[in-house]
């Protein structure tokens, strides 16, 4: 018997937003406070999982038409690219560059190539987690 999930769905709509915001926050703050690409990625994935829980897989696929394997690959490539960029400057692989900037709106901010690497990590984590969950979920 099918029951309706109105309560869950309504709550989800609000909550997903909160989770996503939190994920982005924790991702960016990672270099200075606890967090980082992993947790950010996993949180994002759990937001999507929550959506899938509340609604159903086809609907979510329609809303988020992402091929997660490709997402994983792209994440990997970004991470590798960041790491190998240093080769161009003839310094050891993985040498990061960063500097502190005084941006008008954000105050003193550091721009760090490690962040790019972390984006790679983030994408891979989201991609893989969702690949796993989605393929199992879809399996008959």
């Amino acid at each position: 018997m099918r029951t309706n999930d109105v309560m869950l769905q309504t709550a989800t709509k609000v909550v997903t937003f909160i989770i996503l915001m939190f994920a982005v926050h924790i991702f960016f703050a990672g270099h200075y406070t606890p967090g980082g690409g992993f947790v950010g990625g996993l949180l994002t994935a759990s937001a999507i999982v929550l959506l899938m829980l509340a609604f159903d897989i086809p609907t979510i696929k329609k809303i988020l038409p992402i091929n997660y394997v490709v997402l994983t690959a792209v994440g990997l490539l970004i991470a590798i690219a960041t790491a190998s960029a240093s080769i161009v400057f003839d310094v050891p692989f993985f040498t990061h560059a960063y500097d502190y900037f005084d941006l008008p709106l954000f105050g003193e901010t550091s721009l760090h190539s490690a962040l790019l690497f972390d984006i790679g990590v983030y994408l891979v984590v989201v991609g893989v987690t969702m690949t796993i969950i989605q393929t199992i979920g879809e399996d008959e």
């Binding site: 200075y32 406070t33 606890p34 992993f38 796993i132």
Partner: protein, 115 residues
């Protein structure tokens, strides 16, 4: 504290091994989960539990107060890897059950000899 932790870790390993020796696949997988918990805690313990501040730079905390960050980083890596492996194992178990119709390892002996 480290002594108590060591004993607890020993218990975790013990339980893990005991579970892995049973016939039921799910118990085995749970066993592997416990095993990696044990290994991670061991890594943490071996780094020393003496730190009084999280390894995040903060004003007014002297360098010696930070907990050892290196084991933490290693554990993080290990956690993620064991997560990947566990999920793989779970799906494998799921598929194996679908195809072979049992989760009893004794029935999954296979044919070692081709006599």
């Amino acid at each position: 504290m480290e002594i108590v932790m060591s004993v607890a870790i020993g218990l975790l390993f013990m339980a893990a091994v005991y579970l892995m020796l049973s016939k039921s696949l799910i118990r085995i997988i749970i066993g592997t989960g416990l095993l990696s918990h044990g290994a991670h805690l061991l890594l943490l313990t071996m780094g020393g539990l003496g730190g009084t501040a999280p390894p995040v730079v903060a004003d007014g905390v002297s360098v010696s107060d930070y907990a050892d960050p290196l084991p933490q980083a290693l554990i993080l890596t290990a956690i993620v890897i064991s997560f990947a492996v566990t999920s793989f194992f779970l799906v494998l178990a799921y598929r194996a059950y679908q195809e072979l119709g049992t989760d009893n390892m004794e029935l999954l002996r296979g044919t070692e000899d081709y006599e």
